[in-house]
C-alpha cells in the first residue's frame, strides 16, 4: 500500500555543524530534511546552504512550531513563511508534529503532549485540514516522545495518531525512536503501536538517539540510534516497506561521516528487507 509520498531512500537531517560540507559538495546523501523555522530568514548562509543542498538532493521541510494542537489560532504569518519557503525549495513534502507548543502567542519551543480525547482529535484534524488547504498539499504528522500522559485521555496515542491521519487525510511520519521512548516511559508495547499504524498513511520514518535518565528515557538526539531502536526499525521497515528513512542528530552533533554511517545502516536494513520481499513475491 502506498502512502502517496515518494520513496527517497535514507537521508540525514541537515544541521549547522555540516553546513561547510554541504557548501563544498562533500555532504552526499539520498535526501536532506531541514528544520523549516531555521530557514525562514531573509538571507545569509542558511539559505545559501539550503539551496546548495537542494541542488544535490531532494529536501523535505520539517517544522517544529506549527503547534497543531494549540488552542491559539493558526499563525497566518507562519503559514505564509512556510508556504514561501516551500515555493523556494520545492520540498518532496512537509511535516510537523502531533503536539502543541504555544499558547497565548507564547512559544515553549518544545513538543508538548496532547490529551488523547475526542475534543483534541477534532481540534487537531480541523487544523491539519486548514494547513493542508493553505499549503495546497498533504502533510505528514509525527508522533512525539512524551514523558507524561493525562488521566482524562480516552484512547491510546496510537489510536489517536491513526484516527487523526484518517480523518485529516494526511500522512504519518513514524518516529521509531519516539515510539520506543514513549513505550518505555509509559510502559506499553511498541509493537502494538506499530501494528496500529495504517500502512497506507506511513510516509516516512525518523531515527535518532536517546538518553537513559534512569527513571525515564529522554529524546535527546545526541547519540547513535540505540540497538533496541534499530531492532524496532527493522520491524517497522518490514511492516511498512518502501518508506523513506531519516536520521536526526541535533545535540553533540558528530562528524558528518558518523551521521552518514547511521543512514547507511538504515539503508542496509531497508535493502535486506526489500530483497526479502522481492524473493517472496
Amino acid at each position: 500500500m502506498s502512502s502517496g509520498f515518494p520513496y527517497l531512500g535514507c537521508g540525514i537531517g541537515l544541521r549547522r555543524e555540516h553546513f561547510a560540507e554541504v557548501l563544498d559538495g562533500r555532504a552526499r546523501t539520498d535526501w536532506f530534511e531541514v528544520v523549516s523555522e531555521n530557514f525562514m530568514v531573509p538571507g545569509g548562509r542558511p539559505l545559501a546552504v539550503l539551496e546548495r543542498a537542494r541542488a544535490s538532493a531532494p529536501v523535505v521541510l520539517h517544522g517544529v512550531s506549527l503547534s497543531l494542537g494549540s488552542v491559539d489560532p493558526l499563525s497566518g504569518a507562519y503559514l505564509d513563511a512556510l508556504a514561501a519557503l516551500a515555493a523556494r525549495v520545492e520540498p518532496a513534502w512537509l511535516s510537523d508534529h502531533l503536539c502543541w507548543g504555544s499558547v497565548g502567542r507564547r512559544y515553549a519551543h518544545d513538543l508538548l503532549p496532547l490529551p488523547y480525547t475526542e475534543e483534541a482529535l477534532a481540534h487537531v484534524v480541523r487544523r491539519i485540514d486548514a494547513v493542508q488547504a493553505r499549503l495546497g498539499r498533504r502533510i505528514l504528522i509525527e508522533n512525539v516522545s512524551s514523558y507524561l500522559t493525562y488521566a482524562h485521555s480516552t484512547i491510546s496515542e496510537w489510536e489517536f495518531l491513526a484516527e487523526t491521519a484518517r480523518r485529516a487525510d494526511c500522512g504519518i511520519l513514524l518516529d521509531v525512536n519516539n515510539v520506543y521512548v514513549s513505550a518505555t516511559n509509559h510502559r506499553f508495547d511498541p509493537r502494538v503501536y506499530l501494528a496500529a499504524m495504517p500502512a497506507d498513511r506511513v510516509g516516512q520514518f525518523h531515527l535518532a538517539g536517546h538518553s537513559d535518565r534512569g527513571t525515564h528515557l529522554l529524546d535527546t538526539h545526541d547519540a547513535p540510534v540505540s540497538p533496541a531502536v534499530w531492532a524496532l526499525y527493522r520491524e517497522a521497515a518490514v511492516a511498512f516497506p518502501g518508506v523513506s528513512t531519516l536520521v536526526e542528530w541535533d545535540e553533540r552533533v558528530p562528524a558528518l561521516d558518523v551521521l552518514l554511517a547511521e543512514a547507511a545502516r538504515a539503508r542496509a536494513i531497508a535493502g535486506e528487507i526489500g530483497a526479502a520481499h522481492a524473493r517472496s513475491a
Binding site: N38, V41, P42, G44, G104, E119, H216
Partner: protein, 257 residues
C-alpha cells in the same frame, strides 16, 4: 476534567513559573504518575527542558555576555528575562530580541557595566548573519560612475549592516573584567557569510551616518567639512567610500554602468 484551553494555559504557566513557585497541584492531578515517576516529576521534566532550551539559545546568541556574567549569574539573569519576555516567535532565532534592553534596565549591581552594550553588539551580529542578501558595490562599478555624477551619487548600505553607539569599547571586550568606559561607534556587517565588527572614528561615523540617511556624496562631503578642512573633505569621503567598497558594506548602485 479540563478542556484543551485550560490544560494548555495551565501547563504553559507551569513551565514558565518563577523559580521556587510551587507546581500547580490541579495540573499535577490531571497527569498520570506511576512507581517509576510521579505526576509532578513528569511535569518537571518539561519544565527543565523549557528552561534549558531557551537559556541555551540565549547563551548561543550572546556568548560573550554569558562568559562575562559567568554560568550562575547568566542562568539567573536569563531566567528573569524569560519570565518577563517569553518567546513570541515560532523560531528560537528571535528569543533574544529584547535581551539587550532587558539587561540595560537591570540595576547596576545585577550586571557589570558595559554588558548591556555587549549584548547589543552580539544581537547586531545575529541580525546581520541572516539579513537579506544583496550584491555589493564593486570598485569597477564605482569607477564607472562619470565624474559629473559623483556629487549627486547616493550610495546605499547593504541590509546586513548595523551601526552601534556604545558607552564601552565592546568590540574589544577583555577576557577578564570589564573595559574602561569610552564612547564607541561600531559598524557590524556581513561580508560573504561572515559577520565583522569595526570601530569607527568620528569622521567615518559621520560619513556613514550621512550615507545611511540617504544623503548625496556632496552632502556627505559637506558633513565632513564640519570636522576637517573643507579642501580635505572630498578626498576623505572618497577614501571612506573605497574602504566600504572593499569591506562590501555598500549595495550595488542601481542602473550603474
Amino acid at each position: 476534567m479540563p478542556d484543551l484551553r485550560e490544560l494548555e494555559e495551565r501547563f504553559f504557566a507551569a513551565l514558565t513559573r518563577a523559580h521556587g513557585t510551587p507546581l500547580d497541584a490541579g495540573l499535577v492531578a490531571w497527569v498520570r504518575g506511576d512507581g517509576a515517576l510521579g505526576a509532578a516529576e513528569r511535569v518537571e521534566i518539561y519544565g527543565r527542558m523549557y528552561c534549558g532550551r531557551l537559556i541555551a539559545a540565549l547563551a548561543e546568541d550572546f556568548p560573550q555576555v554569558a562568559t562575562a556574567l559567568g554560568p550562575a549569574r547568566f542562568d539567573a539573569v536569563a531566567h528573569r528575562y524569560l519570565a518577563r519576555h517569553p518567546s513570541t516567535h515560532p523560531s528560537l532565532r528571535h528569543a533574544g530580541g529584547a535581551f539587550p534592553v532587558f539587561l540595560a534596565e537591570l540595576p547596576a549591581d545585577a550586571v557589570p557595566p558595559g554588558v548591556a552594550d555587549l549584548a547589543r553588539l552580539e544581537w547586531a551580529r545575529v541580525a546581520v548573519f541572516d539579513a537579506p542578501d544583496e550584491r555589493p558595490l564593486t570598485l569597477a562599478r564605482l569607477r564607472a560612475q562619470p565624474a559629473e555624477r559623483w556629487p549627486d551619487l547616493r550610495l546605499r548600505p547593504i541590509a546586513a549592516l548595523r551601526v552601534l553607539e556604545a558607552g564601552y569599547p565592546v568590540h574589544a571586550w577583555p577576557e577578564e573584567g570589564t573595559p574602561a568606559r569610552a564612547a564607541t561607534v561600531l559598524r557590524v556587517w556581513r561580508k560573504g557569510f561572515v559577520a565583522y565588527t569595526a570601530a569607527m572614528d568620528a569622521l567615518e561615523a559621520t560619513a556613514l551616518g550621512s550615507v545611511r540617511a540617504g544623503c548625496s556624496f556632496a552632502a556627505t562631503c559637506e558633513a565632513l567639512a564640519r570636522l576637517v578642512p573643507a579642501e580635505r573633505a572630498a578626498a576623505d569621503a572618497a577614501g571612506l567610500v573605497l574602504r566600504w567598497v572593499e569591506d562590501e558594506l555598500l549595495a550595488e548602485i542601481e542602473g550603474a554602468g
